[in-house]
Structure formats: C-alpha cells, structure tokens
C-alpha cells in the first residue's frame, strides 16, 4: 500500500495553539459572572464529623455559599463508575486525607480561600487503615458502609472484590525450581501538570459542565443521574486535558461544583491545587506474593500469584484496574498452569484510579523480577529464559482470550540487539531486560462524523480526548489519507457532548484502533457517496469508478478527491457527510466481560552504573521497543514510548507517598514528591518499534503508549541486582534503599 500521510512523522494537530499559549485548558476559561470556589478539608485521614460551623465563613465579604453535605438532597447523593459509593461531599465521616467536607463559593478566590479557613469542623479522629496489613486486620473499622453493598458476602470486610483467574493443571511436583518472593509497588500519583479543574453553569433548564475529564460521556451520565436531568440537558465541555494518564478518567468534584452552581444560579469554578490533585487521584499500590515454578531448562511450569492492591476510600475505577491488570498478570508467556488471586482492598487513602498500564506494572514488577531470579539460580541467561517461554504468534497463552497477536520474540531480540546484550560490558556497567504485556480494550463503542466540505477541506468530530497522546493528529492523518486532503486543512472537533457523537471512553490505548476505525468507516462512507454522485454526474456505471486512498479512478484517468468535489456536489454545493461506528462487543462468559481487542507488547532494556558509595544510579543507555502494528505517526509513537519510560523511571527510582502515623500524606506537592527532571535522563535514549501491520486498527495499527511503562521497573531492577549482587523487591529503588542493601549484603 502506498501511503501518503499515514506513516509520516507529522507535527501535532493542535500544536500551534500549544506553543503560542492560545490553547484553552479548563482553568483558562472565564465565563461572565463566574464565581470561584475552594474545598474545605480537615487534616485527618479518618474522622467522624461532629459538627460543621459555617457562620464565620459566611460573614466573609463576597462569600455566596458555604455548602456542606447538609445542603445537598438527603440521603446525600453518591456516585462512582463501578459502585455509587462516593458522596458528593463528605457525609458524616472523612474517609481519606483531603476528602472535602464543604465547598465555599465566593466572588473571588481570595474570599473563598479566606472563608474556607474559617469553616470550623469539629471531628473525632478514628483509626486510619492506610496499609494493606491494617486494612485486612479484622479489628480495623470498615472503610465502606456495608449497606452500600447489601448482597455482598465481603461487605463486612475491607475487601471490595476478589478476582480469580486460573488455567492449566497445577502439578507442582513437575517444577524443579520454585522461586517464591514478595514484591511491593509504591503508592504514587499521576501528577498531571494540569491539576484537575471544573466549571459548572446553569444552562437554561439544564447544566453545562467544563471539566479536565477524559471520559466526557461518563461524566454526562453521572451528572444527569445526580441532578435528575435528561442527558440532553447536561452539556459537557471537555477541552483537551493537560495530561491525564488515566487519572482524569472519571468524575471527582464535578458533582459538588454542579450542585453549587445550581444553588447560586451562576457559573462556579474550582481549580485544584497540585496538593489537592495528589489527594484526588493516585495509582493503585500493590503487594504481590508470587511463586513461580520452573524446569531446570527454564521452562515455566506454573505461576501462582496473589496480588493485594490497595484501593482508596472510594472505589472509582480501581477495582476494574485490579481485575484487568492482574488478569494478564502471568505475562506474555506460555505457562502450563496459572493461578491468580487479586484483591481490591479498601483503605483510608485517596481514591486509587486508572493510571498508564492499568494495574499491570504493579504485578509485572513481581513476575519479571522472579524470572530474573530464576535465571540466576538456574544459570540461564536472563534474555534466554524469556525467549524460551515467550508466546509465539497465534499461541493461546491465555486459553480463553485472543491468541498472541504479534511476533513478540522479534521485539525482544530487537531490544536485546539495541542494548548490545551479548557484547562485553565495561567494568562497573550492568544490564537488565524485561518484557511487558497489557490488554487493549475489552469493549468499546466509538461514533465519529467526517464532513467533506465544498472547498476540499474537512471536519472530523470525535469524542476521543486528546490529552497529549496525539489523537487529533492520528484522526486527521487517516482523513487526509482517505480523502486526499492536506493534513493541515483538516479540523478536528472534540470535547463537546452536544456537538460530537458518543464515544465510550479514552482509555486502554484504544483511540487509534477503535476511533481510528470509526473515522476510517466514515471516510469509506464518504467515498461511497462520492462514487454514486460522480457516476450520476458523468453518466457512468458506479462499477466504472473506484474511490480509495484519496483518489478517484475513472475509466480513462484518475483525479484526487478534492478536484472532484465540485462536480459531485452539483449546483447546490453543500458537503458530504460520513458517519462512522466501531463496536467492540463484550462477551458475557468472559471473566473481563470481553476479550482483548489487541495486546500491547514491549521490551525494555537498560545499561547502567551504580555508585556504590552513595547508591546513586546512572542509566547509561535505555532501550524501549514496542510492537505497534503500524505507526500512523512515528514521531508521536516515539514520544509516547519515551514519555512512558520517563514516567516509569519515576515509580522505579523515586516516586512514593509518605504517610505519617495517622495516615496523613506528608509529601504533598512538587517540593517533597520528586518526579524526573531533564537532569535525570538516561544518557542515551533509544525508542524503536516493530511494525508488521498485524493489528486490528487502521492500516494494521495496534494501540500503544502504555506498553512502554510495563517493564521499566523489572528491567532497571534487574540491572541493579546485577550491580549490587542482591535483589531489592520494594519500589522505588531509591539511593537510600540501594545503599542500605549494599551495607547489608
């Protein structure tokens, strides 16, 4: 196939606005008569609210409303994507450090802040469960009120759900080596540089909401239900988020702001501080106990995995993270027998939600590190043990799911080659390698609209959220390719529920595949209509004309589509409209509700040195290789994989919440919670792809952007182990931990 714009490293659609400061994020929007608001919180992780005195706060000049749970409909409305457990404002009890007990609305932010400090909350501190051990202790108070899950046998425990997957016959006697260890993955946060922001405004007989949300149609549904409005009266605007990484998938404080706006009858804005955003979203932390059985030749006999994921005080999408993340927990290997038990454990911590990798990096840290330990014990090369067990294309490595859909050994060998795996090492240098696998979406529904305009330009409307991954570019490239229109003259409209058709969500690296296919179908519809009209205009049989890849082929010549539009449209002009629909249906019997649309597969390899005096590590060379099927925009593909690597190095080397003895987070904000900067980069950074056009998306593409975060920790951990001669099984691998391990070893 001779592709023109697909496969080209084109500059980001929406880039111009981003370098000129014109791009409007939610916090940049001002509405006439807009009021400001501030959350009121208490400095406790778990407390019974005895009373809230708002009298002093209400006296502050400019204050319009001090809203507590008592001002909301009773019982206090609750919401959530999996279970409606989260109250709009704290309802008699604060269940995590930072849970808002009130919202102050005022003419100015200064007045709102001042008043928020004057809201007097009397409370009685309760013991806080902020570790797995504490949450599972039967004497610990229940985080979730059992009445919220009446028929659940687990209702009187802090376990929200248990996910069990297994296949194959367990015969441990076949294993000649069993490696058994416990690994921990830290509690960390998405740290979007754009903190979440929300505006709600009464809108005739409905409401308009502006939010940094990824899933605008989910938000529409939640607000409609809470406010008892038809969907048509809830208008959600979702400008491109300034980073999401999963953290912005679901509603947080939009409901509170919506109730407040309706009460005061004016627009109300709430922009979270970075500290508040740490308390509003985080990744699931996890402790994984794993037993892996091997034959002497390194063949996997069994994997027995128990993963305890710590959710927060409210479920959000956290339990789905646990269920889906652990499901592929045994990795991309042909394992004879697998047993996985993953628990979603509630705690008095900020609600855990989706984050890049969706529960998989947590378990993969354990699975891949155990592979490494087995390789050492069996005297097998760490690359070789992986290749021996890796599923080949077509292997049903998870018996009831999609077979392996890529040449994964090719990816691994490419990464090994790029890191120089078999080349001699300079003294003091050490290497590590690891693989990672994640499921793409299991269900999905994406509608799209493509309008071919009279002058040969086009508009695409898509409910996908472009939070930096570059969906705008990808969709514009598909339209450019199919309709023969210059990339630059395509306008992509997103983030508006009243003018853009329904899209289920932007997650699981789905948009290139699902929305991409939808847009492709819309383009095909336009091509078909064009053919009919041109046949009529030129008095030809439709079979005498073909339209594809931007070109109309007539019996005697061919023309680019834009040149034919005038004739096709006729004297009235107008436009040609194409609607696309892409469905990924669920499967009732499937443990996840549906099999994978595709797999994301990545291999990461590093070479590094460790300063044995300080525990500091320097990554000399970093290689990430992903199987992407087909890179529609190679530059964006590399940007995504490099970004995933940088983020993964964060949880690998430095990021974690620090709690005090009462469960309050002590390192809120950018000064005390470190992420990578430009000074922490690998000295050499190599990002490569494998492209065999074997994906279900347009032109053989697969979803990507999460794969490259899956195996950062085990690859780096492996090299640290090589350097210091002992494994560290708790992340992050801080200099302090490495130094301590060196002293003890």
């Amino acid at each position: 196939m001779n592709l023109k714009t697909v496969g080209a490293p084109l500059v980001r659609n929406g880039g111009h606005e981003r370098v000129t400061g014109e791009e409007k994020y939610v916090a940049d929007i001002k509405l006439p008569g807009m009021l400001e608001s501030k959350l009121v919180t208490i400095d406790s992780a778990h407390a019974k609210i005895l009373s809230i005195d708002t009298s002093q706060a209400r006296k502050v000049p400019g204050v319009r409303l001090v809203m507590t749970a008592a001002d909301l409909p009773q019982p206090v409305p609750r919401f959530g994507p999996q279970i409606e457990d989260r109250p709009v404002l704290a309802d008699g009890e604060v269940k995590y450090h930072g849970e808002p007990v009130a919202l102050v609305v005022a003419d100015t932010l200064e007045a709102a802040k001042k008043a928020a400090r004057l809201v007097h909350v009397e409370y009685e501190e309760l013991p806080a469960a902020f570790t797995i051990e504490k949450a599972l202790d039967p004497s610990t108070p229940l985080v979730m009120d059992p009445s919220l899950r009446p028929n659940d046998p687990l209702a009187h425990t802090n376990i929200f759900n248990e996910h069990r997957y297994s296949w194959g016959q367990f015969d441990e006697s076949k294993a000649e080596l069993v490696v058994e260890n416990t690994y921990s993955f830290p509690m960390m946060t998405q740290f979007c540089i754009e903190p979440p922001a929300f505006i709600a405004a009464p809108d005739k007989d409905g409401i308009a909401i502006w939010s940094t949300i990824q899933h605008l149609y989910w938000l529409q549904k939640i607000i409609a239900k809470l406010l008892k409005l038809p969907l048509s009266k809830v208008h959600v605007y979702a400008p491109d988020p300034g980073g999401g990484f999963g953290g912005k998938q679901h509603a947080k404080y939009e409901p509170a702001v919506a109730f407040a706006a309706l009460k005061v009858g004016q627009p109300v804005r709430l922009v979270l501080t970075l500290e508040e955003s740490f308390q509003a979203m985080r990744r699931t932390s996890c402790e994984t106990h794993i037993r892996t059985g091997f034959r002497k030749d390194g063949t996997l006999v069994f994997q027995d995995i128990v993963a305890n994921y710590l959710l927060g005080a409210y479920v959000d999408i956290g339990d789905r993270v646990v269920g889906k993340g652990s499901y592929a927990g045994a990795g991309p290997y042909r394992t004879q027998a697998v047993r996985i038990l993953a628990k979603s454990i509630l705690s008095n911590t900020p609600p855990a939600t989706a984050m890049r990798g969706f529960g998989n990096p947590e378990v993969n840290w354990a699975v891949e590190s155990n592979m490494d330990e087995a390789a050492r014990l069996l005297g097998i090369d760490r690359l070789e043990i992986r290749l021996r067990n890796l599923a080949k294309k077509g292997d049903k490595f998870i018996p009831y799911d999609k077979p392996a859909d890529g040449d994964w050994p090719q990816t691994v060998l490419k990464a090994a080659d790029l890191i120089g795996w078999n080349k001699p090492l300079v003294a003091g240098h050490h290497r590590g390698i690891a693989v990672g696998l994640k499921l793409g979406p299991t269900t999905g529904l994406s509608y799209s609209l493509v309008r071919l305009l009279a002058d040969g330009s086009a508009v695409v409307a898509s409910g996908t959220s472009d939070m930096g991954q570059g969906a705008r570019s990808i969709l514009a490239q598909i339209v450019s390719e199919e309709l023969g229109i210059p990339y630059e003259s395509i306008e992509v409209v997103m983030g508006d529920t009243s003018s853009v058709f329904y899209d289920q969500q932007t997650s699981a690296s789905r948009s290139t595949v699902l929305m991409g296919n939808s847009v492709l179908k819309a383009c095909h519809s336009i091509q078909a209509q064009l053919k009919t009209r041109l046949a009529k205009s030129y008095r030809l049989e439709e079979s005498q004309i073909s339209v594809e890849h931007g070109v109309v082929k007539f019996p005697d010549h061919e023309e680019p589509i834009p040149k034919t539009i005038k004739t096709a449209l006729g004297s009235l002009g107008g436009e040609i409209i194409g609607v696309g629909e892409e469905r990924k249906e669920g499967e009732k019997e499937h443990p996840l509700g549906g099999s994978a649309s595709f797999y994301e597969f990545n291999c990461t390899a590093v070479e590094r040195e460790v300063n044995k005096a300080t525990g500091d590590v320097t990554i000399l060379r970093y290689v990430t290789v992903s199987d992407v099927g087909k890179a529609i925009n190679p530059m964006q593909v590399h940007m995504q994989d490099e970004g995933a690597a940088v983020q993964g190095l964060g949880h690998t080397l430095m990021e974690h919440y620090i709690f005090d003895e009462k469960g309050r987070i002590r390192n809120l904000g950018a000064a005390d919670y470190r992420i990578l900067t430009s000074m922490d980069l690998p000295k050499e950074f190599v990002s490569e792809t494998v492209e065999n056009a074997d994906g279900p998306g347009p032109y053989g593409s697969k979803g990507m952007s999460e794969g490259a975060i899956l195996c950062v920790s085990p690859a780096v951990g492996s090299s640290v182990n090589e350097a210091i001669g002992t494994p560290i099984r708790d992340l992050p691998l801080t200099p302090e931990r490495i130094w301590q391990a060196l002293q003890e070893h």
Partner: protein, 160 residues
C-alpha cells in the same frame, strides 16, 4: 479591601497602567486580570516552572513574584514569542522535534529555553539539561525539549 497600588509595565510590547492589590501575584495579574492565560499554574511554589515568564529578560516563576514587584518591568510571555503571526525558531523547533505533548508545560518550557539561550547561545547538552531542570514535563518530553533547544542554538546562536 486592600489598597490598590498603581503600577506600569510593558507586557509583550504593550504598555499597561494598572492598579493592583499588594498581595496579587504576577501570575494572577497575567492570567486573571489581563487574560494572558498562556502562562499556566501547577504547583504554585516555584517548583514546576509552568508559570515561567521573562521579567526584564530574566526567567522568573511568576507564582513567586508579586505584581507590584514588576512595576516598571518589561515582561514577555508565551503569547509574545510569535512575531506578526510567525512562530519563533524555538516554537517551530519544539513542534518539529516533538517536544510538545499535552502542551500544558510548553509555554513555561519555551520561556526558560529563551532565557537559557539568551544567556548561553551555544550551550552543551549538559548545560541545557541543567538549564531546563526547573521545568517539569509529566508527558516525559525532556529528551526532545533538550534536542529542540540544542537545534535552535546550533541554527542561529540563540533566540533573537
């Protein structure tokens, strides 16, 4: 009510005579009063760099500076980088090198890069990594941001 203080400043080549409260941050003056929303806010404590602007040619975290402290100053924000509708070399190169993902940190990155090149027109890679370390990018574009800055420095010896 705080007493307002008269200040004068030039922002992106426009002269402004303003009355500002003494406690107002330069960031709020720019964003809330004058609608220069290209300058962003994230951490509010001078750690993330998204609010970076040039004050008399120096890179400043505008969340840490009071508006009154900028009295008499010449200020440049991201909105002032393009001239007559033409992107500056840095803006163009950021796009071409893929140094922009979600874009929220981009205005601050561009201002820090402008300052860096004004001080050191031909920096080494290490100098760029150090010079840009005050600007966080959670999309993880650092490598490309550094590449973009180096490319511009090689082209014309720095942003003019």
């Amino acid at each position: 009510m705080e007493k307002l203080i008269p200040v004068e400043m030039t922002i992106n080549n426009q002269h402004y005579s303003l009355q500002v409260p003494p406690s107002m941050r330069l960031l709020d003056l720019l964003r809330e009063k004058l609608d220069f929303t290209g300058t962003k806010e994230c951490c509010g404590i001078g750690e993330c760099g998204v609010c970076t602007v040039l004050v008399d040619g120096k890179a400043v975290d505008s969340c840490l500076m009071l508006a009154v402290e900028a009295d008499g100053a010449t200020i440049l924000t991201a909105e002032g980088l393009a001239r007559d509708g033409h992107l500056s070399d840095l803006q163009k190169t950021f796009l071409e090198k893929g140094a922009v993902q979600c874009g929220f940190c981009t205005p601050g990155q561009l201002m820090s890069a402008s300052y860096l090149l004004s001080q050191n027109p031909h920096p080494t890679r290490e100098e760029v990594e150090e010079g840009m370390a005050g600007n966080l990018c959670r999309c993880g574009c650092y490598e490309r941001i550094v590449d973009a800055v180096l490319t511009v420095s090689g082209k014309d010896g720095g942003e003019k």
